[in-house]
C-alpha cells in the first residue's frame, strides 16, 4: 500500500501507538473506575458495580443540569446552523467584506474561551441583558459558529458552480434553485455541522460559567462538584459525557464523508 520500506513502517506504527496510549489512556481511567466504589479516597477494585450510575440517576441537580444542557444545545444548534449557513452563502457569493466577516467568525473560536467569555459578559452588561440561558445560548452560538460556517462553506465550495447554472438554465427562479438544488446539496454538511456544534456546546465550560445566570449546565455542574471533592458520581458523569461526545463525533464524521463516496456505496 505504501512505498515506505518495512522497518520504517514498523517504527512509525510503534511511535503512533505510543502517542495514542500516552494521550488517550487517561480517558479510560474514569470510565473503568466509574464501575467501582471509592471509599476513603481509594478505589475498591474488588467488586464492579453500577451503583454510581444509579446514584447519578437519582441526583436531581444533575438531571436538571442535563436538561439545561440539552435545551442550550438544541437552541445553539438551531441558531448556529441557520446563521452559519447564511454566512457561508454570503461569503460564497463573493460579496464585499467577506474576508473581514470570515475573520470575525473565526475569532471567538480561536481566542482563549476566557477572553471570549469575558468580552461577552461585558457586552451583555453594557446592553443591559440579564445573565440567563439566553446569554448562554448566545455565547455558545458565537463560539461554535465557526465550525458550522466552515463545514457548510467547504461543501459549498466543492459543489460545482454549473449545478446552480443548470438550475437557472432549466428555468428555475433563485428561490427554487436555493430550495431544490443548493440546500439539498448542503444538507448533509449542515447535519454534520449541527452535530459538531452540539458536541461543542455540550461540554463548553468556560464561557458558560461566565455568562450563565442561576442555572448550570452539565460541565459547569461537574466543575462545581469537583470543588467540593472527588465523588464517585464524577467518574460516572465523566464517563457518560465522554461516551456521548464520542458518539456525536462518530455521527458527525458519517455525515461529513464526501457525498461521492456516500452515493457510490449504496
Amino acid at each position: 500500500m505504501s512505498a515506505l520500506p518495512r522497518p520504517s513502517t514498523i517504527f512509525l506504527a510503534a511511535i503512533t501507538s505510543l502517542v495514542a496510549v500516552l494521550l488517550y489512556s487517561p480517558l479510560f481511567v474514569p470510565i473503568v473506575s466509574s464501575f467501582f466504589i471509592i471509599s476513603h479516597g481509594n478505589v475498591d477494585w474488588s467488586s464492579p458495580t453500577l451503583s454510581t450510575y444509579v446514584a447519578l440517576a437519582g441526583n436531581h441537580d444533575i438531571l436538571a443540569a442535563l436538561r439545561t444542557t440539552l435545551i442550550v444545545g438544541v437552541c445553539t444548534v438551531i441558531l448556529s446552523v441557520v446563521s452559519g449557513t447564511l454566512l457561508a452563502l454570503y461569503y460564497h457569493g463573493r460579496r464585499s467584506g467577506r474576508s473581514v466577516l470570515q475573520f470575525i467568525i473565526f475569532l471567538p473560536f480561536l481566542m482563549p474561551p476566557i477572553i471570549s467569555g469575558l468580552a461577552l459578559l461585558i457586552f451583555f452588561r453594557e446592553i443591559g441583558l440579564e445573565r440567563s440561558l439566553l446569554t448562554v445560548v448566545i455565547g455558545h452560538t458565537v463560539f461554535v459558529l465557526a465550525i458550522v460556517y466552515r463545514t457548510v462553506l467547504m461543501r459549498l465550495q466543492s459543489m460545482s458552480r454549473t449545478l446552480v447554472e443548470a438550475s437557472y438554465d432549466l428555468g428555475a427562479t433563485g428561490w427554487q434553485t436555493f430550495w431544490r438544488v443548493i440546500l439539498p446539496n448542503l444538507s448533509s454538511a449542515m447535519v454534520g455541522g449541527a452535530i459538531l456544534a452540539f458536541a461543542l456546546s455540550f461540554d463548553e465550560t468556560m464561557i458558560t460559567i461566565l455568562v450563565t445566570g442561576t442555572q448550570s449546565t452539565l460541565p459547569v455542574r461537574l466543575w462545581a462538584m469537583m470543588r467540593l471533592g472527588f465523588s464517585p458520581d464524577i467518574n460516572a458523569l465523566v464517563a457518560l459525557i465522554l461516551m456521548f461526545t464520542v458518539l456525536l463525533c462518530v455521527l458527525a464524521a458519517r455525515f461529513l464523508i464526501p457525498r461521492q463516496m456516500a452515493t457510490e456505496r449504496n
Partner: protein, 367 residues
C-alpha cells in the same frame, strides 16, 4: 422550421472579463433548425459565446436578438434555450427522472404530465430503464444522455452544447456523435455545438463557425470552409493544407496567377469577388490540398514545379508524401496524399519528381 430564417442573431457582441477583452465585435446568425458548430482552438472564446447566448454571462457590448426581439438583458431562466454542460451538471441528489423533469416541475406543470413527458424524453435517449438511478450510478455516456434529455424536455428553441463529448473515449464519442445528430434530425431543434475537434465538426455540422482569438474567422458549410477558406488561419487550421506565399498578378477571367517561390501558380477565384478585387502585387497565399497535388505528366502545363520526396508515410487508405520544393528543393515543405496501392507506392523517398495541381483545385488566401 425553415432553415433559411434566422432564429438568433448576435450583433457586434463584445465581451471582456474585467479589462481583458475576450470577444471582439462578433456578428453571428443562427438559422432555425440548423446544426451549427463553433470550432476553434483552446481559449478562442467558444464557451464565452455560448454563455452569452445562454445568459450565464452579461454582454459587455452589442445585442442578441431572438425572432426579431431583443433579448440581451433577458434573465437566464426566461430564455427559451437549454444548455448541456461539459461536466453534465446533473443534480446528484435527484434520480434520473428527477433530473429530467426538473425543468418542468419548476414551471409548476402537473405531475402526471411531467411523468409522461419524462418517460418520453428518456425513451428518446434510450434510458427508459434507468429512470430511478442516481447520476453517480451511471456511465459517462449515460450521464451525457440524461443531460441531453433534461435539456430537450423543456422544448427549447435552441440547445447549447459545450464540448459535450470531450470526456468520452473515442468509440463512445463516435456513437454519441451519430446519436446527437439523429436526435437533432428527429426533434428538428436548433443545436449550437461547441468543439475544438474538427473531425467532430465536419461530421456533425450543417455549418461551422471558426473562431480564433475572440474573432469569428469564417462561417460556412464544412465544404466551403475546406475548399474556400477566407483567411490564412482557416486555411491552416481546417484540415491539412499546402500554403505557398507570393504576390498576386492581374486577374484573368475566373482565375488569378500568383508569383511564388515555386514559380507562377494559377488559382481559381470564381465566385469570390474579394479575391478579384485585391490589388495587383498584394501578398497572398496559394492554397491547395494534399489530395489535389499529384505527379505531373507530359500534358500538364499549369502549376508545374519540381520537388524532392523527403518522406513517405503509409496511413492506411492513403499514403502521404512530404515534399521539399522551391529554391534548392529546400525552401517549401508540401504534402501530397494519394490512394495507397497494394503493390507499394509508386513514389520513392529521395526521388526528384515533377508535380502539379489543377487551377480549379487551387485557391487564394489573402495574407
Amino acid at each position: 422550421m425553415n432553415q433559411n430564417t434566422d432564429l438568433l442573431t448576435l450583433r457586434s457582441v463584445s465581451k471582456s472579463y474585467g479589462t481583458v477583452p475576450v470577444l471582439h465585435d462578433i456578428d453571428l446568425s443562427i438559422r432555425d433548425g440548423e446544426f451549427l458548430t463553433v470550432l476553434g482552438p483552446s481559449g478562442s472564446g467558444k464557451t464565452t459565446v455560448l454563455r452569452l447566448i445562454g445568459g450565464l454571462e452579461p454582454l459587455t457590448a452589442g445585442e442578441i436578438w431572438l425572432d426579431g426581439q431583443e433579448i440581451s438583458r433577458m434573465p437566464i431562466n426566461k430564455r427559451p434555450f437549454n444548455t448541456v454542460f461539459q461536466d453534465y451538471a446533473l443534480f446528484p441528489h435527484m434520480t434520473v427522472s428527477g433530473n429530467v423533469g426538473y425543468g418542468l416541475s419548476v414551471r409548476h406543470i402537473k405531475r402526471k404530465e411531467i411523468a409522461s413527458r419524462v418517460s418520453q424524453a428518456l425513451e428518446l435517449v434510450q434510458l427508459g430503464r434507468f429512470a430511478d438511478r442516481f447520476p453517480a450510478q451511471l456511465s459517462g455516456g449515460q450521464r451525457q444522455r440524461v443531460a441531453l434529455a433534461r435539456a430537450l424536455i423543456c422544448q427549447p428553441r435552441l440547445i447549447l452544447l459545450d464540448e459535450p463529448l470531450a470526456a468520452l473515449d473515442l468509440e463512445l464519442r463516435r456513437q454519441m456523435q451519430e446519436f446527437l445528430k439523429s436526435i437533432q434530425r428527429e426533434i428538428k431543434t436548433t443545436f449550437l455545438f461547441v468543439t475544438h475537434d474538427q473531425e467532430e465538426a465536419i461530421g456533425m455540422a450543417d455549418r461551422i463557425c471558426v473562431m480564433q482569438a475572440g474573432h469569428i474567422r469564417q462561417l460556412g458549410t464544412p465544404h466551403e470552409l475546406y475548399y474556400k477558406p477566407n483567411c490564412e488561419f482557416v486555411a491552416r487550421f481546417f484540415g491539412e493544407n499546402n500554403l505557398v506565399a507570393g504576390k498576386l498578378g492581374p486577374v484573368q477571367g475566373e482565375q488569378r496567377p500568383i508569383e511564388t517561390a515555386l514559380g507562377r501558380l494559377v488559382c481559381s477565384v470564381s465566385g469570390q469577388p474579394h479575391l478579384k478585387a485585391a490589388a495587383d502585387g498584394a501578398s497572398a497565399f496559394a492554397a491547395f490540398r494534399p489530395e489535389a497535388l499529384r505527379l505531373a505528366d507530359a500534358n500538364d502545363g499549369d502549376n508545374r514545379f519540381s520537388g524532392v520526396i523527403a518522406d513517405l508515410a503509409f496511413a492506411g487508405s492513403s499514403t502521404v508524401a512530404t515534399i521539399m520544393a522551391g529554391a534548392d528543393n529546400a525552401a517549401q515543405r508540401l504534402r501530397l496524399r494519394m490512394p495507397s496501392r497494394i503493390d507499394g507506392s509508386i513514389l520513392k523517398s529521395g526521388e526528384t519528381v515533377s508535380l502539379c495541381f489543377a487551377p480549379h483545385e487551387g485557391h487564394l488566401v489573402l495574407a
